[in-house]
C-alpha cells in the first residue's frame, strides 16, 4: 500500500505531501474527509431507497407471474379435459415456469405428460416434486401409477404404501387413502399377488364407509382374490344398504356359488337378474345353479324316485360326455386316452346296474354313480373342450359331495 499518492482534489501526483498543481495539503484532507463522509452517507441513503424500490418491483413481478401461471393452468386443464394432453402439457409447463412454488402445476404437468405417454418425463417431474415433499400422498400415488404402468412392481407397491401413509391435504384424506388401498389391491391382483392383495383388503374392510358401491367394489376384489366368504359378507352388507344394487346381488350370488351354497346363490342371482335382466353372465350362472339344485341326487329331503331319476339323468349325460370325448380327434397323451377308455369301461360296466330298483335297494350304488359321474366330468373338463351347462352342474355336484366327504 506504499504506492504514489494523488491529490484528492485534482488527481495530480503529490510531491512532498503537497500538490504542486493546486497546493492543497492539510486543509484539503479535512475537507476531503468531510466530503467523503457526506458522499458515503448519500450513497448509503440512495442504496436504501433503491433497495425499497427494487423490492416493490420484485413483489409486483411475483404477483404478475402468479397471475400468469394461474391463467396457463386453467387453460391447460381445459385442454386436458378436451383430451389434448400435448397442448395441456405445454400450458402446464408454462404455468410451472411462471410459478415454480405451486406444486399443483407440477402435478398437473406430470398428469398431462403421463396422459400423453411421456412416462419417463412425467416420472422425472414427479421425482423432483417428491424431493421437496417426500410425504405427499398425491405425488407418491402418481409415481406408483407410473411404476405400475411400466411394470416396476416393487417400486409401485413402495410408492402406493408411501401414498397410503403419506400426507393428504384435502378434507377427503380418509376417502383418498381408501381409494389408494383399493387401487393397490387391484394392482396386486393383476400381478397375481393374491395374499398381499387380501391383506390390503382386510385392512380396508376394517374401516369401510357406509357406501354400498365402495363395499361392492371391495367385495368384488375379495372375490377376485379367491376369498368368497369375505366377499359374501361385504356383498350382503352392501345389499342391506342398497336393496336395488344388482351388482351386489350378482356378487353375492357368485360368492355363494363359489361357496357351493347354491340355494342362496339362486336367490341372489335371481334378485340380480330382476334388477338387471340384461346380464348374460348372471343368467348363465343362475342357469347352472338351478341345474346343480335340480340334478343333485344326494340333496336332502328328496323322494327316492326323484333321487334315482336325478342319478340316472346325470349318469346318461356323463356317459354322453365321455363318449363324445373319446370320439374327438384331439391330440392327447396315450395315458390320458387310456384313462378315458378306462372311465368309459367303468361307465359301461355300471350302466346295466343303474336301475331304480337296484338303486333303492343299494344306497352304495348311488354313491358309486355320483362318484363316477364326478370323475368323468372332471377328466373331460381337462381335455374335452367346453362343458355344457349341465356338465358343469354335474361337476359341481360331484365336487361338492367329494368335499363334503373329505
Amino acid at each position: 500500500m506504499q504506492g504514489p499518492l494523488h491529490c484528492p482534489k485534482c488527481g495530480h501526483l503529490l510531491e512532498s505531501e503537497r500538490c504542486p498543481r493546486c497546493g492543497c495539503a492539510e486543509r484539503a484532507v479535512f475537507r476531503l474527509v468531510q466530503r467523503e463522509i457526506v458522499l458515503l452517507v448519500l450513497l448509503s441513503a440512495a442504496a436504501v431507497a433503491m433497495f425499497l424500490f427494487t423490492r416493490a418491483v420484485a413483489a409486483a413481478n411475483r404477483s404478475m407471474n402468479a397471475r400468469v401461471a394461474a391463467t396457463w393452468y386453467e387453460r391447460g386443464r381445459q385442454r386436458l379435459q378436451a383430451g389434448d394432453s400435448q397442448a395441456a402439457a405445454d400450458l402446464f409447463r408454462r404455468a410451472t415456469i411462471n410459478n415454480r412454488e405451486q406444486p399443483k402445476y407440477q402435478l398437473a404437468l406430470a398428469d398431462a405428460l403421463a396422459a400423453g405417454n411421456y412416462d419417463e418425463e412425467a416420472r422425472q417431474v414427479l421425482l423432483r416434486l417428491r424431493d421437496s415433499s417426500p410425504e405427499d400422498g398425491n405425488i407418491n400415488l402418481q409415481l406408483a401409477r407410473l411404476a405400475a404402468k411400466r411394470g416396476a412392481g416393487s417400486d409401485a407397491v413402495l410408492y402406493y404404501h408411501h401414498a397410503l401413509y403419506g400426507r393428504w391435504v384435502s378434507a377427503q384424506a380418509v376417502t383418498q387413502r381408501r381409494e389408494v388401498r383399493l387401487e393397490l389391491a387391484r394392482f396386486l391382483l393383476s400381478r397375481q399377488q393374491n395374499s398381499s392383495a387380501v391383506s390390503e383388503l382386510l385392512m380396508l374392510s376394517a374401516d369401510l364407509p357406509q357406501d354400498p358401491a365402495f363395499q361392492t367394489q371391495t367385495a368384488q376384489l375379495f372375490l377376485d382374490a379367491g376369498e368368497p366368504a369375505q366377499a359374501l359378507s361385504l356383498f350382503t352388507r352392501a345389499i342391506r344398504l342398497d336393496k336395488k344394487s344388482d351388482e351386489a346381488f350378482a356378487g353375492a350370488g357368485e360368492a355363494s356359488f363359489q361357496l357351493a351354497d347354491y340355494v342362496h346363490a339362486r336367490r341372489y342371482l335371481a334378485a340380480a337378474l330382476q334388477q338387471n335382466p340384461g346380464s348374460q353372465q348372471v343368467r348363465h350362472l343362475l342357469s347352472v345353479t338351478e341345474m346343480v339344485l335340480s340334478y343333485d341326487p344326494l340333496a336332502p329331503h328328496l323322494k327316492t324316485e326323484e333321487r334315482n331319476r336325478r342319478l340316472i339323468a346325470g349318469f346318461n349325460q356323463a356317459l354322453l360326455r365321455i363318449r363324445d370325448c373319446l370320439g374327438l380327434q384331439a391330440e392327447r397323451p396315450e395315458s390320458a386316452q387310456a384313462a378315458f377308455q378306462e372311465l368309459y369301461g367303468e361307465a359301461q360296466t355300471l350302466r346295466p346296474g343303474l336301475r331304480p330298483r337296484n338303486l333303492t335297494r343299494d344306497p352304495e350304488l348311488l354313491r358309486s354313480g355320483v362318484e363316477l359321474i364326478y370323475r368323468i366330468e372332471e377328466a373331460a373338463g381337462k381335455g374335452c373342450g367346453e362343458p355344457s351347462e349341465l356338465d358343469r352342474a354335474l361337476l359341481l355336484i360331484g365336487r361338492k359331495r367329494a368335499g363334503a366327504e373329505q
Binding site: M1, Q2, G3, P4, L5, H6, P8, K9, G11, L14, E17, A25, E26, V29, F30, L32, V33, E36, L39, L40, L43, S44, A46, A47, M50, F51, F53, T54, R55, V57, A58, N61, M64, N65, V68, T71, W72, R93, T96, I97, R100, E101, L109, Y118, E120, E121, R123, Q124, V125, L127, R128, D131
Partner: protein, 573 residues
C-alpha cells in the same frame, strides 16, 4: 489529535484504504441492486411487449421495431455497450486504467433491457457485469480515489453484479479473478469477496433464497459413466467451437457492411429472431426457465436437440447483429440442452446403469461454459455452488477439461478476446501483465515515424524512400496504419517497371506488431520475425501507431542502458 501530529501522507493512505473498504460494500449493494433491477426490468418488458400468448405477427414485429430503436440508441449515444459487456470491462481494466464513462452503465441498462426484453436470445450476466463495473468506476472517480484504486474497483463491481445476477457468490469472485483480472492470485480477492457477499445478500433479501434452477440431486451411478462424461465433453467442445466460430464469422460479416448501416443491423437481427420465435418461442430472451426444465427432465429429447441448435443460431444472430446482451446465459442454455440430450441417449442405450438426464444437463452447463467462456475454474465452482454436492466435481472436471482442450485447440483466442480483436482492441496476455514494470517495448521504440501515404504509387514511394536507408516503411498515417512495405520489394517493383502500381500491392503479408507494454524479450522475439521494422500499436485502437522499433532504436537503447549502468557503478564506487 491534531493534524500536525500525523503525517498527511499517512492520513491520506488511511483515508483511501478506509474509503475503499466502505466503497466496496456500497458498490456491492448498489451493483447487486442494479443487477436485480435489470433482471426484473427484463421480465417486465418481456411481459409488456409480448403479453401472454403473442401472435406470430407480434413475435416478428416486437424484436424488429424495438431493435430499430436500440440500434439508433447504440449507434448514436451508447456505442460502447453493444454485445456482452464482459470484454469491454476487461478492456477497461487492462488498457483504460479502469475508467468507464457514466454513460456506459446507464446505456447498458436501457439497451440491455430493450434487447433482451424484446426477445433477443442473449444473457443478462454480461451486461450486469458491465453495469456493476461501470457503477464502481464512476463512484471511485466521484470519490476521487487514486487511478490505481479506481482500476481495482472495476472487478469488484463486476463480481458484485454477477453475484446478484446469477446468485453464485463464489463463482462470481472466481469469474472476476479468472476472466476480468486474468490472475487467480490477485490481491483483490478480499474486496471482490466483500462486494460479492454484499450483493448476494441484497439479492436474496429481495428475490428470496430460491436458486435460479431447481437442481436435481447428483449421483454417479456407475464408474463407467465417466466415459459418458468424456463423450459429453467432446460434444460440448464441438458445440462450443461451432458457437465461437459462427459468432465471430457472422460478426465479421456485419462489420464489413458500410458504417452507416450500423443503425439498422440490430433490426436485421431482430427480424430474423422474430421469425425464429414463431417456431421456437423457447429461445426467447435469457431462457433460464427452459434450462430448469431440462435439468428436471421436463423436455423431450427431440426438443432439447432442436433447442440446442436454434438457440445457438439465435444467439449468434442476436449478438453478431450488434444488440446489447451477453453469451454467459446462452452458453449455459446450450450446455443444458446438449447435456440433457446426451443424458437421454446414454440413459437409453448405455449397457450400464446411468444417472438421470438432468445430471448430464447440469454437467453440460459447466462444460459449455468452459468451452465457450474459457473460464474452467469458474465453471466448476459455479456448478458446484448450484448443486452443493462434491460428487459432481469429478465428472464435471472431466467433461470441462475435454471441452476446454478441444475449444482451445481449434480456437486459440478466447471468445471475449476475439470479440475485442474484432473491435481493434488487444488485451495484454498474462506474460505481458506479469512483466509489470520491467523493460517494455515502449522503452525501446521511437515515436519519430515516417509514413508513406496510402494512395501513393510504387514510383512515388521510391522517390520518398530512396534517400532513406531503412529496410521497411509504414504505409498510411499515425491514426490509420494501412500496411508495411520493404525497401527490397519497392526496389524490385521499380526495376520490373511496376512504378505506376499502387504501393498497397507490395504490402508485407502477416506482419507482426507489439504494444507499448509488451515485455522486452517478447519485443525482441517479434523484431526477429519482422522485416527490420516493428510497429508499436495502441491496444485500444490497433490501427493507431504509437511508435516503431528498428535495429537502430534497439542499439541506441542498449547504449543508453550500458552508459546508465556504468554511471551507476561509478557513482556507487
Amino acid at each position: 489529535m491534531s493534524i500536525s501530529a500525523v503525517s498527511i501522507v499517512e492520513r491520506l493512505r488511511l483515508r483511501e484504504s478506509q474509503t475503499f473498504l466502505a466503497l466496496t460494500i456500497v458498490i456491492g449493494v448498489l451493483a447487486g441492486l442494479a443487477a436485480v433491477l435489470f433482471t426484473l426490468a427484463i421480465e417486465g418488458t418481456k411481459h409488456l411487449l409480448f403479453g401472454l400468448a403473442p401472435s406470430p405477427a407480434r413475435l416478428v414485429l416486437v424484436p424488429t421495431i424495438v431493435s430499430l430503436l436500440t440500434g439508433f440508441l447504440l449507434a448514436k449515444y451508447f456505442p460502447q455497450v453493444r454485445g456482452s459487456g464482459v470484454p469491454q470491462t476487461e478492456a477497461a481494466f487492462h488498457v483504460q486504467q479502469g475508467v468507464i464513462s457514466a454513460r456506459v452503465p446507464l446505456g447498458k441498462f436501457l439497451t440491455g433491457v430493450l434487447c433482451i426484453g424484446s426477445g433477443h436470445s442473449m444473457g443478462r450476466e454480461g451486461p450486469s457485469v458491465q453495469i456493476g463495473a461501470g457503477i464502481a468506476s464512476v463512484l471511485g472517480r466521484w470519490l476521487r480515489l487514486s487511478p490505481e484504486r479506481v482500476k481495482n474497483l472495476v472487478p469488484v463491481g463486476a463480481a458484485a453484479a454477477l453475484s446478484a445476477a446469477f446468485n453464485t457468490p463464489v463463482a462470481a469472485v472466481l469469474f472476476a479473478l479468472e476472466e476480468i483480472i486474468g490472475d487467480m492470485n490477485a490481491a483483490l480477492i478480499g474486496s471482490t469477496v466483500v462486494a460479492s457477499v454484499s450483493a448476494v445478500i441484497v439479492e436474496r433479501s429481495i428475490l428470496g433464497n430460491e436458486t435460479l434452477f431447481r437442481v436435481p440431486a447428483y449421483h454417479l451411478v456407475h464408474p463407467a459413466e465417466l466415459l459418458a462424461y468424456v463423450a459429453l465433453g467432446i460434444v460440448g467442445g464441438a458445440v462450443s467451437l461451432l458457437f465461437c466460430k459462427g459468432l465471430l464469422r457472422l460478426r465479421a460479416l456485419f462489420f464489413r457492411m458500410p458504417a452507416r448501416s450500423a443503425v439498422f443491423q440490430p433490426a436485421v437481427g431482430g427480424l430474423i429472431i422474430g421469425v425464429l420465435l414463431i417456431f421456437f418461442p423457447q429461445v426467447m430472451g435469457v431462457g433460464y426457465e427452459y434450462v430448469d426444465q431440462a435439468l428436471n427432465g421436463g423436455l423431450l429429447l427431440k426438443t432439447m436437440l432442436a433447442l440446442c441448435f436454434v438457440k445457438l443460431l439465435a444467439t449468434v444472430i442476436s449478438y453478431a447483429s450488434g444488440n446489447a446482451g451477453g453469451i454467459f446465459a446462452p452458453s449455459l442454455y446450450l450446455g443444458a440442452m446438449a447435456g440433457g440430450a446426451v443424458g437421454v441417449l446414454v440413459h437409453r442405450f448405455a449397457p450400464f446403469a446411468t444417472g438421470d438426464p438432468g445430471a448430464y444437463a447440469l454437467v453440460g452447463m459447466g462444460t459449455l461454459f468452459a468451452g465457450i467462456i474459457r473460464a474452467p475454474m469458474t465453471s466448476v465452482f459455479m456448478i458446484f455452488e448450484l448443486t452443493q454436492d462434491y460428487q459432481i466435481l469429478v465428472p464435471l472436471m472431466i467433461a470441462n477439461m475435454v471441452a476446454f482442450a478441444i475449444s482451445r485447440h481449434y480456437q486459440p483466442v478466447p471468445i471475449y478476446h476475439a470479440l475485442l480483436h474484432q473491435e481493434g482492441v488487444h488485451l495484454p496476455v498474462p506474460p505481458t501483465r506479469a512483466a509489470g514494470a520491467t523493460l517494455q517495448a515502449g522503452d525501446v521504440m521511437t515515436r519519430d515515424v515516417t509514413f508513406i501515404p496510402q494512395e501513393s504509387s510504387v514510383g512515388d514511394c521510391w522517390k520518398q524512400v530512396a534517400e532513406n536507408d531503412a529496410k521497411a516503411f509504414l504505409v498510411g498515417s499515425a491514426d490509420l496504419l494501412a500496411g508495411l512495405v520493404t525497401r527490397q520489394s519497392i526496389e524490385e517493383a521499380v526495376r520490373s517497371g511496376k512504378s505506376s502500381e499502387p504501393v498497397a500491392s507490395l504490402f508485407v503479408k502477416d506482419w507482426v506488431h507489439v504494444h507499448e507494454n509488451h515485455p522486452l524479450d517478447l519485443t525482441l522475439e517479434r523484431f526477429s520475425q519482422s522485416p527490420g521494422l516493428l510497429p508499436v500499436l495502441s491496444r485500444t485502437k490497433t490501427r493507431r501507431v504509437e511508435g516503431v522499433i528498428t535495429l537502430e532504436t534497439i542499439m541506441r537503447f542498449m547504449d543508453n542502458s550500458s552508459s546508465e549502468a556504468s554511471g551507476g557503478i561509478t557513482s556507487a564506487t
